[in-house]
Structure formats: structure tokens, C-alpha cells
């Protein structure tokens, strides 16, 4: 049996800034360059994968992030149980992977999602990221894959001064400690 324990399990706040891991949510990686893929996903989840770079689309239940011209990341906006996650994955797998329309990979345990809230989140990220957040923070729904303290991250701007950060599980504790350490000096 897999151990689903998360690495962080705490929520911290530093003045205006709040950090917390959001869990359990579903995360699925999709890859495809087939033409019918978009409509397939639209039918299954009533959401269309964005074609424009560095953008995302959302509905009530899911957000889908652009990662590269043929790769997307879906995650659920609400916490859902592992049983429900497995059902959804199975459904996608049956309708996409099984008929060679693309690949469906469950990356729920691969990425750790941390929610950052507060007016100083971009000051915090700019401390150790080469990315220019000027346009990112203006546009709700923008997505960026970049480095933060030498660690690969995916950033999703969900609202004003509110973003979701995805980091690989094995790096999550290290990045979490760095974020907490840096947040003290804001």
C-alpha cells in the first residue's frame, strides 16, 4: 500500500503572507498532439485545454494549465478523495490513452501544491527567481514554469495576490524551508 502522507502538513503565516499546502487534490498530466484531443477533454471535463502559451482555463471543478505546446496539467480546484481521483483518472485513461489520443499520467503524488496568499508574494518569489513577474501578476490565470531557489516550479496565478505553486515532492521540503526562511525577512 502506498503511503499518501504529505511532506509538509502545516500552514504558516508571516504578517500578510499565508503559506499552506493544499491536499488532497487531483493532478493529472496530459500530453497529446492529436486534433481531436481538445474536444475529447472538453466533453469529459467540460474544459478546453488552452492553446496560448503561459495561460490556463478553469471551470468550477478543474483548472488546466498550459505547460508546452503539447502538454497540460489538470488539477482539481477542490479537495477530492482518492477514490474519486482514481475514478476520474480511469475515465480519462479509457477515453484518451487507450485509443491512442494522447497520454494520461496521474501526477498527484509527483507534485506538491502550495498556496501563497498576501500582498508580498511577488517580493518573496523575486528573491530567488529569474522570472519577470510584471505581466504574470497583472493577468489572472497566467502560468509560468521557472526556477525558484534553483528548484523547478510551476506557478499559477489564481487571483490577485493569490497563487498556487507546484513543486516536485522530493524538493518540496527544501523549498518549503527556503520559503519560510525568506518570508521572515519581508
Amino acid at each position: 500500500m502506498l503511503n499518501f502522507e504529505t511532506t509538509l502538513q502545516v500552514s504558516k503565516s508571516y504578517g500578510d503572507l499565508t503559506l499552506s499546502e493544499v491536499e488532497p487534490i487531483l493532478k493529472i498530466n496530459l500530453r497529446s498532439n492529436k486534433r481531436e484531443f481538445s474536444t475529447k477533454i472538453g466533453k469529459l471535463l467540460s474544459i478546453i485545454p488552452p492553446i496560448e502559451a503561459n495561460t490556463s482555463s478553469s471551470n468550477e471543478d478543474y483548472s488546466i494549465l498550459w505547460l508546452s505546446p503539447d502538454e497540460w496539467l489538470i488539477y482539481s480546484n477542490n479537495k477530492i478523495s482518492y477514490e474519486q481521483q482514481n475514478l476520474l483518472e480511469e475515465n480519462l485513461f479509457k477515453n484518451i490513452s487507450n485509443i491512442n489520443q494522447g497520454s494520461v499520467t496521474n501526477v498527484t503524488d509527483h507534485w506538491v501544491m502550495i498556496n501563497l496568499k498576501g500582498s508580498k508574494i511577488y517580493d518573496l518569489l523575486s528573491k530567488s527567481s529569474p522570472y519577470d513577474f510584471k505581466n504574470f501578476k497583472m493577468k489572472k490565470g497566467s502560468v509560468a514554469q521557472t526556477l525558484l531557489n534553483h528548484t523547478d516550479v510551476i506557478l499559477h496565478n489564481t487571483d490577485d495576490n493569490n497563487l498556487n505553486l507546484f513543486v516536485r515532492r522530493s524538493f518540496s521540503e527544501d523549498l518549503w524551508l527556503w520559503i519560510n526562511d525568506s518570508a521572515r525577512f519581508l
Binding site: A53, N54, S68, E71, P130, Y131, T146, D152
Partner: protein, 92 residues
């Protein structure tokens, strides 16, 4: 340090990319008919000139796609960026 305009993601810092060496090296059609020297020439020998060089780059910390860059190695000025499989926009 310089900024590279990824053809898929837009302008990003160089630290997000990794260099893949010289571009447009064609694999010999009949490797078995080559001498060891000719094969070594294809496999190992790369230009390292001061001036305009055609290079492959990978946006390894972003979209993970490969593309070509025309870069002046003396001042890191990038003259053109184009996708894999496309013809160089300037004469090679």
C-alpha cells in the same frame, strides 16, 4: 547572463535554458562506409568560433522544447531564434 526569447514561452532568463551545442550537423547517410576519422569528425568535432554561431538550446526549466538560436559568441547578442526543423533565417 542574457535573455533568450523562447519560441514557445517568450522571453526568459538564460538560467532556465541549457545549451545543446552546434546546430545543423547532418548525420552521414551511410555511417558504415566512413573511415574512423570521418566518423569522429561528425561525432566529436564542433566549431567554437568567435562570432556568429548556430546553436541548439533547450528550455529545460520551462516548456522542455528544443529550438535553434543564432548567437554572437563575442557579445552574447542573439540574432535569431527559430524552431527545430525550420530553415535558418540568416545565411549559414
Amino acid at each position: 547572463m542574457f535573455i533568450i526569447n523562447c519560441p514557445y514561452c517568450g522571453e526568459r532568463d538564460q538560467t532556465e535554458f541549457s545549451s545543446g551545442g552546434e546546430a545543423h550537423i547532418v548525420r552521414p547517410k551511410q555511417p558504415t562506409e566512413l573511415s574512423d576519422d570521418e566518423w569522429a569528425e561528425f561525432l566529436f568535432m564542433r566549431k567554437n568560433i568567435k562570432g556568429i554561431q548556430f546553436e541548439r538550446w533547450n528550455h529545460s526549466h520551462g516548456c522542455r522544447k528544443w529550438f535553434n538560436v543564432v548567437r554572437d559568441t563575442s557579445n552574447d547578442k542573439i540574432h535569431a531564434v527559430y524552431k527545430m526543423g525550420e530553415k535558418p533565417p540568416v545565411n549559414k
